[in-house]
């Protein structure tokens, strides 16, 4: 590492490679979430990989650059949207019959859009876990930097 100053990030080679690959990491997290009812994974694992892609950006480009575009407040709002979405799916089953019942119909097995409410639930869990971990990481980072 040529520069020790944390604010301007890493060297030029690392920054160029990151611009090419960070989108692929995000796409991998989305793939694991969407196929949660067919292959192992699901909401939690996909959410963690999504959060890792954001943290990768902070490590490479420096904290100030990322916080300008994507502050803690926006991450908090996305996480709350995910939580409200999950509760809406559960309550919509409650109005029809029992709490959490399948209302979407089961479809043909092994297709992408099958298996009832598992897919929307996985999506909302990915939003909660991904943005929640990122928001917690930003909060801890702001603790340390406000101290020095």
């Amino acid at each position: 590492m040529k520069e020790k100053n944390n604010n301007s990030g890493m060297t030029l080679i690392v920054k160029t490679i990151t611009r090419l690959t960070v989108g692929l990491i995000m796409l991998y997290g989305l793939y694991i979430t969407f196929h949660g009812h067919l292959t192992p994974g699901g909401g939690f694992a996909g959410g963690v990989i999504l959060a890792l892609s954001f943290i990768h950006l902070i490590l490479v480009f420096g904290k100030d650059f990322v916080i300008k575009k994507f502050s803690e407040k926006i991450a908090g709002v996305f996480e709350s949207i995910g939580a409200v979405l999950f509760l809406t799916i559960a309550v919509s089953g409650f109005l029809v019959g029992y709490f959490f019942i399948n209302i979407y119909g089961k479809g043909i097995p092994f297709n992408l859009f099958s298996a009832g409410i598992i897919l929307p639930c996985n999506l909302s869990i990915m939003l909660i876990v991904g943005f929640g971990l990122f928001c917690a990481f930003l909060t801890l980072l702001l603790f340390i930097s406000s101290k020095e």
Binding site: L38, T39, P40, F44, F110, L140, F143
Partner: protein, 114 residues
């Protein structure tokens, strides 16, 4: 000899408990609690094992065979997330404690007594 994995899980639990009870640094206590969580998750997954069975995932071209019990694997997924939340909270409190007391040593963080 067939009980060896369970005994190793118990030894891992005792190592984590030793770290929580004896060590004086805050960060080592947090690591000890993490080791306790890992050992219990491993124990829970090992309970579902059956001899000569394969993984419990059904895709388009596999036959139906005897499969390992998938219910403990779902329980472990929840337990891992709970452990993650507790670890995050502990690390945040440890950072704040360092700001206030200037040390990580628990023998010197003793304002509340009596």
């Amino acid at each position: 000899m067939s009980h060896l994995p369970y005994i190793l899980c118990l030894i891992l639990f005792l190592i984590g408990l030793y770290a929580v009870l004896v060590k004086k640094n805050l960060i080592k206590i947090i690591i000890g609690l993490g080791i306790i969580d890992y050992s219990l998750n491993l124990f829970l997954v090992l309970i579902g094992y059956k001899k000569q069975s394969i993984f419990p995932i059904l895709s388009k071209d596999t036959q139906i065979q005897p499969m390992v019990d998938p219910l403990p694997q779902a329980l472990v997924l929840t337990a891992i997330v709970i452990g993650l939340a507790v670890t995050m909270l502990m690390v945040a409190i440890a950072i704040r404690l360092y700001e206030k007391y200037e040390t990580f040593d628990i023998t010197q963080i003793r304002k509340l007594k009596g």
